[in-house]
Amino acid sequence: KMSGRRSRSRQSSGISEDQINDLIIKLQQLLPELRNSRRSDKVSASRVLQETCNYIRNLHREVDDLSERLSELLANTDTAQAALIRSLLTQ
């Protein structure tokens, strides 16, 4: 029943409340903070969205940090080249 409604909504570009709730629940499952809360105590959409923004910002920060460290490695020419090649070979 639910999937039928979903596919119909997609084509007619009407957005149902349920469809959105499903997406929010799906999103909640991805968040480390909220993943473990039981379905009985529903987390509000607002909370899920807030946590999502925080989480994405954290992820961005991690990637920036990793990028910074990788760039430092690249700056050390010979060791980096050799190591990069080695890492490719050992995969």
Partner: protein, 250 residues
């Protein structure tokens, strides 16, 4: 309509600077980007739903053909969690990083440059099926484009079709968005979220949510891959690296 033609021609031209710049393995670098450059051509990526407004007839038929096949939801998140996908991404990343070093020998590439390379490789790994990946790739193309052809009038022609249609569509869909989740708090947060995820600034709530789930899964894989790469690269030469990192930290 003439503008679209120019748009497509300019997009094709952009591929060439890529070919000329890199000496070795140019095949590899262009093979990443050209399929996606052409993918970007037909319709700017505002919505998946309406297609009739901007495309020329040939593009429209291509778009239509794609739509006729089952309305495919974006690929499942499992793809980002597979070991194989991480391997593919890691390889792409290493190649791209090496090219980065070759193309920028004198000013050593900084974190920002590495981040952009990593994001671009990630977007390529997404195979152009999501808005965020296409947005990342087009951002890179626009930057290169402006750098090489600053004088050309082509620039406004490039950006205008994208912006114009985007704002038109967002007006129509604001009504939908309010109907869906009327709470102002939720609206605000969705707006913030849409700014965080590339390519989602003028998208409806369900689109933003879908893109977000895929984007998060992809970023998590990116982090795993980069971490693994860092540890693989730093551990074999640990005695040397250690000395260097100490210098950097202190």
């Amino acid at each position: 309509m003439g503008e679209e033609k120019d748009y497509s021609i300019k997009m094709r031209l952009v591929a060439f600077p890529f070919v000329n710049k890199k000496k070795k393995s140019s095949f590899l670098s262009t093979s990443f980007l050209t399929p996606h450059l052409f993918f970007l051509r037909p319709v700017p990526f505002s919505t998946k739903k309406t297609t009739t407004t901007t495309s020329s007839s040939s593009d429209l038929s291509r778009r239509k053909r794609r739509k006729k096949s089952p309305p495919s939801p974006p690929p499942s998140l499992e793809k980002w969690r597979s070991e194989k996908q991480q391997q593919i991404y890691s390889t792409k990343l290493v190649h791209a990083l090496r090219e980065l070093r070759i193309s920028q020998p004198s000013p050593n590439p900084n974190g920002r440059a590495v981040r952009e390379v990593a994001d671009r490789a990630l977007a390529v790994a997404a195979r152009g099926r999501t808005l965020w990946s296409r947005a990342i790739l087009s951002k890179a193309v626009k930057l290169k484009f402006r750098k090489h052809k600053r004088q050309r009038i082509a620039n406004p022609a490039l950006t205008q079709p994208v912006i114009a249609t985007g704002s038109l569509r967002s007006k129509k869909q604001t009504v939908m968005r309010i109907k869906a989740k009327g709470l102002p708090a939720v609206q605000r947060k969705v707006k913030v979220l849409s700014r965080l995820v590339p390519g989602c600034r003028k998208q409806t709530l369900p689109v933003v949510l879908e893109e977000t789930t895929d984007y998060i899964a992809a970023m998590e894989m990116q982090i795993r891959a980069m971490t693994a790469l860092l540890s693989a690269v730093s551990s074999p030469t640990e005695h040397e690296e250690e000395g260097q990192t100490h210098v950097l930290v202190s």
